[in-house]
Amino acid sequence: MALSNVLESPASGFNFDNAARNAAFEGLFEEGHPPKPMKTGTTIAGVVFKDGVVLGADTRATSSEVVADKMCAKIHYISPNIYCCGAGTAADTEKTTDLLSSNLTVFSLNSGRNPRVVMAVNILQDMLYRYHGQIGANLILGGVDCTGNHLYTVGPYGSVTKVPYLAMGSGDLAALGILEDGFKHDLELEKAKELVRDSIHAGIMSDLGSGNNIDICVITKQGVDYIRPFQESEYKDTRKPKYKYRPGTTPVLTKKVVPLKLEVVEETQQRMDTV
């Protein structure tokens, strides 16, 4: 049966439709500074344990040096048995994972089968290679399917690595230190969650691009446990709302009242059945 895709793959390998437009676009901005896309500046990690896969992520999204979102969700749903953590440009990770999820849903409806993690990986790799790194998405894919528990990473240029544990994002070196030290094959669930939590915590403390809370997603044959937040940041926002402004603090300079002329066109009554 032919595989159908949500969006048609282009007939030839590379698509440069937008390249001329982008070149013209860049000239429109002052000093040749086009707007910078918002990066997530992240720590994400994943570990394969005895009964499945644990994925973890922090929740800070930065726009260069300013925190844009303190509670952003970096663990994306792909299919009931596959979840994906995304680092890099926020829009790219969102849209790429959405597209992947749609494609896999169409596949499972067509074939009546649960999608496998390798399929997700191949679709992602295909798409990211086609765009030659212009899509800045560093993804960690984890899932459980009929062939076992799998953890993959896909880079922005389309590289794929299959590993039992890994970390990505700007805080990856800090997180990897903890993972390298604590990882063993066939960990128990609680130990695996602890390990991922510790590695994300290391990323949050050592990396300026990561921070706030920790999200964890546990995927097993029985189902998915998406714990958001797994651990709230110990730095609570304790600012008291004591900067109050009396009504009238902002001066009203002019006032213009425009009455809307409304006329009744049709009036209907609908009875509701209430018990």
Binding site: E26, V66, L208, G209, P251
Partner: protein
Amino acid sequence: MLSAQNFGESGKMKEYHYTGPVEHRFSPYAFNGGTVLAVAGEDFAIVASDTRLSEGYSIHSRDSPKCYKLTDTTVIGCSGFHGDCLTLTKIIDARLKMYKHSNNKTMTSGAIAAMLSTILYSRRFFPYYVYNIIGGLDEQGKGAVYSFDPVGSYQRDTYKAGGSASAMLQPLLDNQIGFKNMEGVEHVPLSKDKAVQLVKDVFISAAERDVYTGDALRICIITKEGIQEQNIPLRKD
């Protein structure tokens, strides 16, 4: 890697040519982050800074305050490139000693500010990458704040924020201390306790949204009794 830069007008590919060896310039500056704030009151001055020293996305130190005590009535806050901050404060200390030995008296805040302006301008064509704010008491015992740019332009203010989170702090100070953009509000003179509380709140807010600000807050309160220091923890993530 093929990219949009290879396309000129009308979508035709530009002529491919070898650009030759590319020289990567060594940059003598680095940005080490940090935020500094100074407020002048009727008979006190406050200089506050966070204590985080960072570079890129890494943290060098969580305990590197940016306020330096110059005299019993003057504190300077320096943020920007840490190497230049250290050298500049050493130079200012040496000049203060020289002044003391020649003139047999300590430099006043206004004099230190004027001197710093000439020190900074002497390096007009290879500047000290430092954003300075001096806080202290003037000859009449009133609070004084002098804010500088990296090449020595300065002015006396009532309050000023400098460093990485300055754009976030300055509007709030304009509103709460300068009573800007408000109408019908009684202009109560700022008390020392209210000013300290405001500084703490404002830094907690800055630490929430600026990645380079955090770890701890060092507040130096300058009164005619002397300089009192307070340390308040901030977000460490």
